[in-house]
Symmetry: C2
Subunit: 87 residues, 2 copies
Amino acid sequence: MYGRKDQARGAEGTFLWLMEEIGELAAEVRGDNHAALQAEFADVLAWLATLANVMDVDLNQALLDKYGVGCPGCLKSPCACSDSEKP
Amino acid sequence: MYGRKDQARGAEGTFLWLMEEIGELAAEVRGDNHAALQAEFADVLAWLATLANVMDVDLNQALLDKYGVGCPGCLKSPCACSDSEKP
């Protein structure tokens, strides 16, 4: 949606925008406005996708490669790892 | 996949995990290992989705509500806002 501007901004500049949205998400996590919280989640995801695009990463494929089989630890979904294990 | 552990951790604890993954993503943005970079994008997205779940936010719906019509500024995709405007 913003391809030309995104490429001009570059990875470092795009990361800063992602961080700004992470800060706004933090504020809404502390708040009690569910609609505003939902909108901030959308903004963080949009900037994460933008950063992935700028860096030639397919976000959907990344998720499938790492979590497509279930938990990377026990390979099950839901996760059956011991409670003492990460995460 | 991790529902029971996620609820026990709560929003604040889950946000801290998201921040840890953001830090790891930052390290890979600076690096040159594309596979590791892709894996960190997956981890950040996974923790973002986890935080959304913990806070009763539908991440897909959030994205549709905010960006489903295109750019929220000009309502077009690709965005046709002036270069001087955010973002």
